[in-house]
Symmetry: C2
Subunit: 236 residues, 2 copies
């Protein structure tokens, strides 16, 4: 875990399916609420499709070039097939959407650690959500299958240095969330750490809190609620 950094340069050889199967079956042992297992993992093997998804994900070429590329999905469809066959109603709301996001993410993080333990590098692709309706039309996902993010896996060519995280005190609290002044003091300390990290990579003058307010200043990915709603999720 402590050695993790996101890899963005991979050898092009396709990943052996036996290594994928081993990682997936280990990852499935992640906890899942009421044993519902609301997730699905779609691997894309067609290089033309992957090149198109790479383009739609903010021109991240490694989506097309890495050893294996996956779309991590929430899965309400499997449950609906079961309910339909039994002649039962399936009710959805924000809770069942959350179940899918949480189940898929616990599974995904297990999967990532299984791959990393096997000597592989990984990169999550949040950029998959940049143009999700178009991604969906390329993938032809059925109703009830909700793509959340991509995942690149492969033999790393280049592994970046580990990036410092927030001080533990800014994340783990006992009984009370810190006061605003306490939290901002922790952010200031972290800004110094990150400024040194960035300066070491030739990015003088950059820090964390500046990147944060810039990230959230303008709206991004404003289509998600309409998209997931059209795929059968309920967000109310």
């Amino acid at each position: 875990m402590r050695a993790h950094s996101s890899v963005r340069a991979f050898k092009p050889e396709a990943l052996d399916p036996s290594r994928i199967r081993a990682a997936v079956s280990a990852a499935q042992m992640a906890a899942t609420s009421s044993h519902v297992q609301s997730y699905a993992l779609l691997q894309l093997t067609d290089r033309t499709v992957r090149a198109r998804i790479a383009e739609l994900s903010g021109n991240q070429a490694y989506v097309a070039d890495c050893g294996a590329f996956f779309v991590v999905c929430g899965d309400m469809r499997r449950h609906r097939l079961i309910a339909d066959r039994a002649g039962k109603r399936r009710t959805d709301n924000l809770e069942t959407f959350l179940l899918a996001v949480i189940d898929a993410s616990l599974f995904a993080q297990n999967l990532v650690l299984a791959f990393e333990s096997d000597g592989l590098g990984i990169c999550y692709i949040g950029g998959l959500r940049n143009e999700l309706p178009t991604v969906d039309s390329v993938l032809g996902l059925p109703e009830g299958v909700l793509p959340f993010y991509g995942l690149c896996v492969g033999e790393p060519i280049d592994k970046p240095a580990v990036k410092p995280r927030l001080p533990v005190e800014a994340v783990w609290f006992r009984d009370h969330y810190p006061s605003d002044d306490e939290m901002l003091a922790l952010v200031d300390a972290y800004d110094e750490t990150m400024a040194a990290y960035y300066a070491g990579r030739g990015l003088a003058g950059r820090n964390w809190s500046g990147a944060i307010w810039r990230r959230f200043e303008a709206e991004t990915r404003g289509h998600l609620a309409a998209y997931y709603g059209a795929k059968g999720a309920k967000l109310s």
Copy 2:
């Protein structure tokens, strides 16, 4: 990973803070979208508070009795303090809510594996969402801090057998999600596996698909959208 099962009987001794710190700092190395680190971990140390949360989470006594109990939260507050201080606007939508759920869950699963690697047992507590507005009033969470689930950690007294998961073929697909008939055949095979598992635990006649349609037949936790909205999340 393969040895995981959820523990619900723990020794009562409080977990040493040095073991928590080690697990949290390793868990923080989980990937995080644009390095935003949208999560917070609130440990509850007051036994009276924990007894109340245990009751509100469906009377799960181990919430009060385990070695350490945590509330895993999304954190938009830290970012808002930064934006406010810089005089910048923070925009929220379903994307920024998803970032918080995903970041918190990748972190949480790392945390769980770090604790398990240290010989401890864990149990996620989705029941924390049963009565979230009341839980919130007990915890006094500030705006922008979004509780998603609880986490019990401690020395296990009793560790249940590992529970079989869906066949790998029901979860990992290449290029196309299976047809309805293919998926239902996989569900049928899994029902047999699970019926045998349950029968071995004295629960004859139980299977997975029956549990699934029952789980989703009636609405549960219908208050979540209003609750998270009131805490500052946007779901549109």
